[in-house]
Amino acid sequence: MLQAEKYPARLRRRPPVMTHLFALGPEASAAIVLSLRVSFWAMLCSLPFALATAVILARCRFWGKSLFDGVVHLPLVLPPVVTGYVLLLLFGHNGPLGRLFATIGVVFAFRWTGAALAAAVTAFPLMVRAIRLSLEAIDRRLEEAAATLGANRTLVFLAVTLPLTAPGILAGMVLSFARSLGEFGATITFVSNIPGETRTIPLAIYTLTQTPGGDPAALRLSAIAVLLSLLALVLSELFARRLSRRLSGD
């Protein structure tokens, strides 16, 4: 079993309800809270980039588009360990981008921010795909109609395209969140397995299975993981249904 002394001081100071979330013990609750935080930020920060990428892929024609499309989808087919290793090389302490971000005070290496970055990168293609499909399903003649009513391209995008893409954006966000909750390979390669900092639910489960007598705790955490994923999917389904009802006017 993991020892409480190993945890950073700020975790130990938390009120009992938080540290012993659902009576799971401090390690497990820390992993859950961390996972939710990592997934949330991964989803939120990748959203604008995913939206822009989806618009480029759905609407623009340019030389090298298939290559761009391939690069965007790479994290989907690459072994996550490779993604993590590439991130380590780029965003590590000595990586070119890592040094660049360090100048503005953002450090990824061995921090929870790095876990969020790894999650964002691996979930990125899923988010782009969902938004792109939704964009491509839009009746572009509605955009023409908006133009004849005096809306320029930006306003057409904001007033017609974006609201009609909303279900796809939502689906993309949920997919990204769910994928981030499950991120393992890239995270452990990039930011290691630091309790309270980068040990998300999958990493905690892995650690528990490697620890003698950790099986019951691993099982409990696995159950939590299942519940969380299910909850995300059900919520997204609810939102999507409400949204599509609003959009189609029922």
Partner: protein
């Protein structure tokens, strides 16, 4: 004043269009695939012609020689699409106001008044809170017209706005279009392949076939021409007459009309004496007699002169007749033409059955006053 003159190539199809038109309704008339929609797309700015010039009231929208192309959103041209194209995520009210969000032209109070005017004119006041999916086809088109009007356009384009509707819905919308025309503030370009709509609504007809303008002129003149059939597609040829109601005959439930052609008795029309009407008389409903018939069931016998004969198909001939100051069109067999010895200049009698004048073919003329208009909608 709308001036259109351009050439464009679409696939293997060449468009070579030139016409100009004034106020009222300019109907682009022709069969499907003749290039009518491309013409309105070019006017709206949704199609960039290869070469040409388009101007409205002197303001140049397209001039390829001087590299001018005003984008669609800066043209202030309303467009009513065949399928309505209402925004599904907005309510009817939001759809109607869409144009005014981007056009900060009118003050709030002024635009409010206009909003009420438009919704009343189109009879859509009770639909404002609904979403497009909850509307019938006819309601969708009325909202689409309102949406285009409320963007304060200087020209209104309508591309087959009735094509996707059944006959009942068409009859529901046509009076609103007539009202719009007779209010007369915004010129309308109306695309249609339906002769009945064009006969009822158009002030000017631009006949388009195979990507070219074949004829331009006032509605009565173009519709009264023999031999349009092969150009405009398989429609029922028929002349358009402007007439005034001079008397009602309650005993036989008939009404008497008077116009440049003489007098015409038709089935009773529920409009006051003095109302001005448009009447379309189909060529196949006109019988030609060489001498004044002594006793026939037809109530109308008009004196006319043969002006022109055009062979239509193998067996039929279309005869252009001048009756008074108006033109009539008759379709007869070549054999009858031979028997009667019809040649241009020959004096004949045109027989028109009172019953043949369909209620549906009766439209209001531009000079009809608004009070008379209102009655027919309520009736």
């Amino acid at each position: 004043m709308l001036e259109v003159e351009f050439t464009h190539i679409l696939g293997g199809f060449t468009l070579d269009i030139a016409f100009s038109s004034g106020g009222g309704v300019t109907a682009l008339f022709g069969r499907s695939g003749a290039g009518k929609t491309s013409v309105v797309h070019a006017i709206a700015g949704l199609l960039r012609p290869r070469r040409g010039r388009i101007a409205i009231n002197g303001a140049v929208l397209v001039d390829t020689e001087n590299r001018i192309f005003v984008p669609a959103h800066k043209r202030r041209i309303g467009y009513v699409f065949q399928e309505g194209r209402l925004f599904p995520h907005l309510t009817v009210r939001q759809n109607l106001l869409f144009g005014s969000w981007f056009a900060a032209r009118a003050t709030n109070a002024a635009s409010r008044a206009r909003f009420d005017d438009v919704t009343a004119l189109l009879g859509i006041d009770h639909l404002l809170a609904r979403r497009p999916r909850r509307l019938s086809g006819g309601e969708i088109q009325r909202v689409a017209i309102g949406r285009a009007l409320l963007a304060a356009p200087r020209l209104l384009l309508m591309d087959e706005p009735l094509a996707s509707l059944d006959a009942t819905r068409k009859d529901e919308i046509l009076p609103y279009l007539e009202r719009l025309r007779d209010h007369g503030r915004i010129p309308i370009v109306y695309v249609s392949h339906a002769a009945t709509e064009v006969a009822r609504l158009a002030t000017t007809i631009v006949l388009i076939a195979d990507g070219r303008v074949q004829a331009v002129g006032p509605v009565a003149e173009i519709m009264g021409q023999a031999g349009l059939y092969p150009l405009a597609g398989g429609f029922d040829a028929g002349a358009v007459l402007v007439a005034r109601i001079v008397a009602h005959d309650p005993r036989w439930d008939l009404s008497e009309l008077e116009g440049g052609f003489g007098r015409l008795v038709v089935g009773r029309i529920d409009l006051p004496v003095g109302s001005q009407l448009r009447v379309r008389i189909l060529a196949r409903d006109v019988i030609i007699a060489g001498e004044r018939p002594a006793s026939v069931s037809s109530l109308n016998v008009l004196t006319a002169t043969v002006e022109k004969l055009v062979a239509v198909g193998a067996e039929a001939v279309e005869v252009e007749l001048r009756a008074g100051t108006d033109r009539l069109l008759a379709r007869i067999t070549r054999r009858s033409q031979q028997t009667l010895g019809l040649v241009p200049g020959r004096r004949v009698f045109a027989l028109i059955k009172a019953i043949a004048v369909e209620r549906r073919s009766l439209g209001h003329d531009a000079t009809t006053d608004f009070a008379a208009d209102a009655q027919i909608f309520e009736g």
